[in-house]
């Protein structure tokens, strides 16, 4: 038991990243507000970026920018940084698309809450005049 706790403490970035991942999933699933779901997605994705960056970081390393005055510097792995930049771009584009869809849904239903949208849609369908526009 103690060894497990010691392992968890020494690997705290991974533990933190996975806790954030779990909270992100929780936020997506529990909240009925669409904007909160979107923020949950952002939290989840940034937690995964944290996992990558924590894996490439080393104790006593410096950022991978060439410094001629300090030839003995230990540079960390720059690959993950480049990859996670792409990841941030991807998550931003998902966010942008989701925002566009949310405002369209708001204009159609007058709400940003999944339950309200569901109820209004059912009302429309039950009244028999399912308007496609």
């Amino acid at each position: 038991m103690q060894t497990i706790i010691a392992k968890l403490i020494t690997n705290y970035p991974y533990v933190g990243a996975f806790i954030l991942f779990g909270i992100g999933c929780f936020t997506i699933i529990v909240n009925s507000n669409l904007l909160k779901k979107l923020i949950g997605i952002n939290i989840m994705e940034s937690s995964i970026f944290l996992l990558f960056i924590a894996a490439s970081n080393i104790h006593g390393g410096t950022a991978p920018i060439l410094d001629p005055t300090n030839p003995e510097a230990v540079y960390i792995n720059p690959v993950t940084t480049a990859l996670m930049l792409t990841g941030i771009v991807v998550s931003l584009s998902v966010t942008a698309l989701a925002l566009a869809l949310i405002i369209k849904l708001y204009r159609l239903y007058g709400s940003m809450d999944a339950h309200v949208i569901f109820m209004k849609r059912n009302e429309v369908q039950n009244s028999g005049s399912h308007n496609q526009q």
Binding site: I41, M44, E45, L83, L101, L105
Partner: protein, 496 residues
């Protein structure tokens, strides 16, 4: 010039698609004709390039194309192997007729020519994403192309701006992003274990160290399974698919049902077979899981399809059932079963796009979406309904149609590995497919209804459907070329 083109074919295919995708919005406002020509030309480049690459792979074997002059593991490479060539051909053959079908009346379906230009931008971006997914041999590169495909697919679902489609698109976006989050987390764990992202290097490293980290690897595998499972709609994770595929405009639903979900299966195949290796994931019990998931989604998807009364929703649920076949074939995991599963990918892509396009024609001509109201339509729209019937028979697996070849190979594979249950499930699935498709055909031909004002669709929309239906029969009668490709792909996946 010819030498330059022939040595750079793989990247040029993707580039032509991307270039024309971004040129379309510039032209769409004033010169809508250029949009049509650019779409058709770039799709044709895809088909011709795919066939050329297939000829090259079949004659000289697989080869790599290195981007930016950096060798792997530092740089990115595109690998042209039987699997990727097979998928490129699938994409080309299916998407070109869909594009031609959608060109004449897209502007009226999505309210305006400018929006139609954006629709084709998304269409071509989606196809470029699928091509990139087929070519990439790098886990993170694969992830980026998966996201390109997903985002464009979501936007394609939302294209016609109706309440139902936007709602379905948002649902799809949330589910798919959850899935890609799981995929990226899986890639992260693999990177932490092996320190590499190139699939070949990952497998080489994993073969040495996997016994030290069995739990971490199992978690990574299950993350991949959940992520790709959401995106390719395995049974318990399928809830977005029926809404999205039935609410989208007809060409979009044909494209998504016929190609997009298969693209994610290709991604799963690459991760499991090339990056992890067949021995390791079988030892972890993943192939049993794949088999069970396949059987459940086959049976459950068929039963859900039986209970649907709307034409497009029934077809959407049948997609879930048919993807079950592919998962089952991958789970059985011997050469015959995998090549059968791959053959089923192309044949189901053709079949499902015929079914969706024909259904779209029927709905737009008659205005009815319920199956029971299609009575007598077979006499009024003989060619469309004929293609629909041929595709239905192929889906059931009648010999001389393409659906038979894949299923036959999968049954052979399951008998080879003494897996009787899988063989029985495959046959039961065929019977269930007959149960949910043949009533539509029967209603259309043998019942009489009020069909006075219904006419056959215009020629430009009829010919693509008939060409796709012809491909179903051609691949059913002469499957040898495609089977050769899938067999080589299966050999590469198992013994490479």
């Amino acid at each position: 010039m010819a030498a330059i083109i022939s040595s750079n074919t793989p990247i040029l295919i993707v580039l032509v698609l991307l270039f024309s995708a971004y040129l379309l919005p510039i032209f769409s406002k004033k010169r809508y004709k250029i949009v049509k020509w650019l779409t058709v030309v770039s799709e044709s480049v895809l088909v011709i390039g795919g066939i050329y690459l297939a000829w090259k792979v079949l004659t000289t074997g697989q080869f790599n194309y290195i981007l930016g002059g950096w060798e792997p593991p530092w740089g990115l490479e595109l690998t042209i192997d039987p699997l990727s060539v097979f998928f490129i051909i699938t994409v080309g053959l299916i998407s070109l007729p869909i594009a031609i079908y959608s060109l004449p009346n897209m502007a009226c379906q999505v309210h305006g020519e400018r929006r139609a230009g954006w629709f084709f931008t998304l269409f071509l971006l989606h196809i470029a994403g699928l091509c990139g997914m087929a070519f990439s041999r790098d886990l993170f590169n694969l992830y980026v192309f998966i996201e390109v495909t997903t985002i464009s697919a979501v936007a394609l679902v939302a294209a016609d701006n109706s309440a139902a489609s936007i709602e379905a698109a948002f649902k799809y976006l949330i589910m798919a992003t959850l899935g890609s989050g799981f995929i990226l987390a899986g890639i992260g764990i693999m990177y932490i274990i092996t320190g590499n992202l190139n699939m070949i290097f990952v497998r080489r490293e994993l073969a040495l160290v996997w016994t030290d980290y069995p739990h971490a690897l199992w978690i990574a595998c299950s993350f991949f399974l959940v992520g790709f499972g959401i995106k390719s709609a395995v049974f318990p994770l399928h809830s977005w698919l029926p809404d999205a595929h039935s609410a989208a405009v007809t060409p979009a639903s044909a494209l998504l049902s016929g190609l997009a979900v298969k693209g994610f299966i290709i991604g799963l195949i690459k991760v499991l077979y090339i990056a992890i290796g067949v021995d390791i994931f079988t030892a972890l019990g993943i192939s049993t899981l794949l088999r069970i998931l396949g059987m459940i989604s086959l049976i459950a998807g068929s039963i859900f399809a039986l209970s649907q009364h709307q034409l497009k929703r029934r077809l959407a649920f049948s997609t879930i059932a048919q993807l079950g076949y592919v998962f089952l074939g991958l789970g059985i995991g011997n050469e015959a079963a995998i090549s059968g599963a791959l053959f089923h990918i192309i044949s189901h892509g053709l079949i499902k796009s015929v079914l969706f396009l024909a259904a779209g024609s029927i709905i737009s001509q008659s205005g009815e979406t319920e199956i029971s109201q299609l009575a007598g339509i077979g006499k009024k729209m003989p060619y469309t309904m004929g293609a629909f019937t041929a595709a239905s028979l192929a889906m059931i697996g009648i010999p001389l149609f393409s659906g038979f070849v894949g299923k036959w190979n999968m049954i052979l594979g399951s008998l080879e590995s003494a897996n009787w249950l899988a063989a029985i499930v495959i046959i039961v699935g065929s019977l269930l497919a007959a149960g949910y498709l043949l009533p539509i055909v029967r209603t259309a031909y043998f019942e009489t209804g009020n069909t006075a004002n219904i006419k056959e669709v215009s020629r430009s929309q009829l010919i693509p459907v008939l060409v796709l239906a012809a491909f179903i029969i051609i691949f059913g009668c002469f499957p040898s070329y495609i089977l050769e490709l899938t067999r080589q792909a299966a050999t590469m996946l198992l013994f490479n």
